[in-house]
């Protein structure tokens, strides 16, 4: 498996271009190529969960000079999340994307986005991270504007401008870091920046770099002061792309990068910790209050994405705090990572459901819908499971991760943040009860009397994701032992990350 590691970016990258050539001859082939590639990647990614950590030298160059690919608990967890959700989104696209022209180009952009995200979570080199981040971002800008109507183009342009500013800030930070240390290799940087054994002390320049990274990656993750593009961009994209953007893109480019840089490279730090906790709490509150008033189904979900990503950020912030006992910090980090995985399942499920409703009824306004549970039972059931998950009702998965985060904050003595987390969970519940009342139950409008259940390729991914939502919740003790424990340990164990420089 070690020798095959670079294939996670090589396969989708090659397939994206191959796809365009083949579909010049046969337009039908695009579906099959995308499906085969995504299925192969998903199988490989799930297989990676059982691999021991290793590092791979690209081209055989020794570590501080060549590019390093790193596989540890966090990378394999993110790879599994990205590739499983993208497989389901591609299956969903078979029927859904028939409404759009240029389907082969859509799949090519989709595969480019997968290649970029896989690259971001695999790499151990800062500039390589920037390049993959740009590949994924450029593909996502184009996919947001894929419908080329007024609103889509406007949203895409807004996203493009802010995304480019974010990338510029990240590149500036990387250049600064290189001028301070003379290396771009992340394990090597971790060694040099280590407060005890390192050669570069924590100074103002490093604080500036941290500020640039929080701004850049925070914009990609849309934490609150940088959130303005998300509620426009995510609803404007086609539904499977909304599911990808909200479900995995903001996590792979934003949260994963912040976690990797702050935990593995820079290390626990009280200042960064308090900034992340504050931004997380702000995102939670602002996101949920703006979500309540929205009439557009997908726009409301987009605001909830901001709010739920706040839970992840606040959990990471507590994990970075050197002033609380290590066990409690670890608990906070565990909660954040667990919520990240859970959010990927239920938010992509909700966006896919909204796509199915739109596909059959032609509207996204939730006040115009009603009584759809009787007409579309499979989609309706999946939608209620996802709503219960996101609002934290036991025994679904959202409940456990929120419980862990709140417990960690109460134990750490941050009662205000704990109270905010409880309040936001309550507001989320209210908002989704309202959604259910208007979309699934109530009177069926006359014009929707002929609405049918969505086709099989659109209901199958919903069923799989709904099963995942329930399974991740019910199998909580097993999930703890297996997946997230490994990811948490790699983040807290900075020494072993530095060790990757020798590996090969």
């Amino acid at each position: 498996m070690q020798g095959l590691y670079p294939l996670f970016t090589a396969i989708p990258l090659a397939a994206a271009f191959f796809n365009l050539l083949v579909t010049k001859v046969n337009k039908k082939a695009a579906d099959y190529i995308a499906f085969v590639v995504a299925a192969a990647l998903a199988v490989m990614a799930v297989r990676m969960l059982f691999e021991a950590p290793f590092s791979y030298r690209v081209g055989g160059w020794p570590a501080p000079y060549g590019i390093l690919l790193v596989s540890d608990g966090l990378s394999s967890l993110m790879l599994a999340v990205i590739n499983v959700v993208s497989l389901l989104s591609i299956v969903y696209s078979f029927s859904y994307m028939n409404g759009y022209t240029a389907k082969p180009k859509y799949y090519s952009l989709f595969l480019l986005m997968i290649a970029g995200m896989n690259g971001v979570v695999m790499t151990g080199d800062f500039f390589n991270l920037f390049v993959f981040l740009e590949i994924a971002s450029i593909a996502s800008y184009a996919l947001v504007g894929f419908g080329t109507e007024h609103e889509e183009l406007e949203a895409s342009f807004k996203y493009l401008i802010l995304g480019t500013v974010a990338s510029t800030a990240i590149l500036f930070g990387i250049a600064f870091l290189y001028s301070m240390t003379g290396t771009l290799n992340m394990p090597d940087l971790a060694r040099q920046l280590d407060p005890v054994s390192g050669t570069v002390p924590f100074n103002r320049a490093l604080a500036f770099v941290i500020a640039l990274f929080i701004m850049g990656f925070g914009l990609k993750a849309s934490t609150v002061p940088f959130h303005a593009w998300l509620p426009d961009a995510h609803p404007s994209a086609p539904a499977p792309i909304s599911a990808m953007l909200s479900g995995v893109l903001i996590k792979a480019l934003g949260i994963y990068a912040i976690a990797r840089v702050m935990f593995s490279v820079i290390g626990p730090n009280a200042m960064v910790s308090s900034i992340l906790m504050f931004l997380g709490a702000l995102s939670m509150v602002v996101g949920v209050f703006l979500a309540v008033g929205q009439s557009d189904f997908k726009r409301m979900l987009a605001y909830h994405s901001i709010s739920q990503m706040g839970y992840v950020t606040i959990g990471l912030g507590l994990g970075l705090n050197p002033n609380v006992p290590p066990a409690i910090a670890a608990l906070g980090l565990f909660g954040g990572l667990y919520h990240l995985v859970n959010h990927a399942t239920f938010k992509s499920l909700l966006f896919l459901c909204s796509g199915s409703f739109e596909y059959r009824t032609g509207t996204r306004n939730r006040y115009e819908m009603g009584g759809l549970m009787r007409k579309m039972p499979v989609t309706g059931t999946a939608c209620s499971i996802a709503s219960l998950s996101i609002s934290g009702v036991p025994p679904f998965n959202g409940f456990w991760s929120k419980l862990v985060i709140i417990t960690a904050f109460i134990q750490a003595g941050y009662y205000i943040y704990g109270a905010i987390a409880v309040l936001v969970a309550f507001m989320t519940l209210l908002s989704f009860i309202k959604l259910q009342r208007f979309v699934l139950f109530g009177a069926l409008p006359k014009r929707f009397a002929a609405v049918k259940e969505a086709p099989f390729s659109m209901t199958m991914p919903l069923v799989v994701l709904a099963i995942l939502c329930v399974a991740l919740g019910v199998l909580y003790p097993f999930v703890d032992k297996g997946l997230i424990e490994a990811a948490r340990q790699t983040l807290l164990d900075k020494m072993s990350y530095m060790g990757f420089i020798i590996g090969g």
């Binding site: 500039f127 390049v131 740009e134 450029i138 800008y141 184009a142 504007g145 080329t148 109507e149 007024h150 609103e151 183009l153 406007e154 949203a155 895409s156 342009f157 807004k158 493009l160 401008i161 480019t164 500013v165 990338s167 510029t168 590149l171 500036f172 250049a175 290189y178 001028s179 771009l184 509620p231 426009d232 404007s236 008033g293 929205q294 726009r299």
Partner: protein, 116 residues
């Protein structure tokens, strides 16, 4: 030091152009200026006064090379960064033209269908 300062001036001009101008073409130009400022900054990191090109010829000792050669890595980074910038610029201009087709204007404050 003066070179770094001039780069900063270029950067700030780009930010001003991005924020203060309403025309979306001018906004794109602002982004390009910011991009160039960052590229110049990266080049300056590797710059060395009276340096030589980073190629190790047979008649030069490695110690002499390490003392006089400029740092080649930032140049490689800048080449990559310029190519990425070109890709982003192409997409920006394409979307900008499509926006003009739909809205018949380049004025950002008239392109405002998304609210809330």
């Amino acid at each position: 030091m003066i070179l770094y300062f001039l780069t900063l001036v270029l950067f700030v001009m780009g930010v001003y152009c991005l924020i203060a101008k309403k025309n979306i073409v001018k906004k794109i130009i602002g982004l390009v200026i910011i991009d160039y400022a960052i590229n110049l900054f990266i080049i300056l990191i590797g710059y060395r006064r009276d340096g030589v090109a980073p190629i190790l010829f047979a008649d030069m000792s490695p110690a002499e090379f390490a003392r006089r050669g400029v740092d080649p890595l930032p140049q490689a980074l800048v080449l990559t960064s310029i190519v990425i910038g070109l890709g982003v610029l192409a997409l920006q201009v394409a979307i900008c033209l499509r926006l003009y087709e739909k809205y018949k204007t380049f004025n950002m404050s008239e392109i405002n269908r998304l609210k809330g």
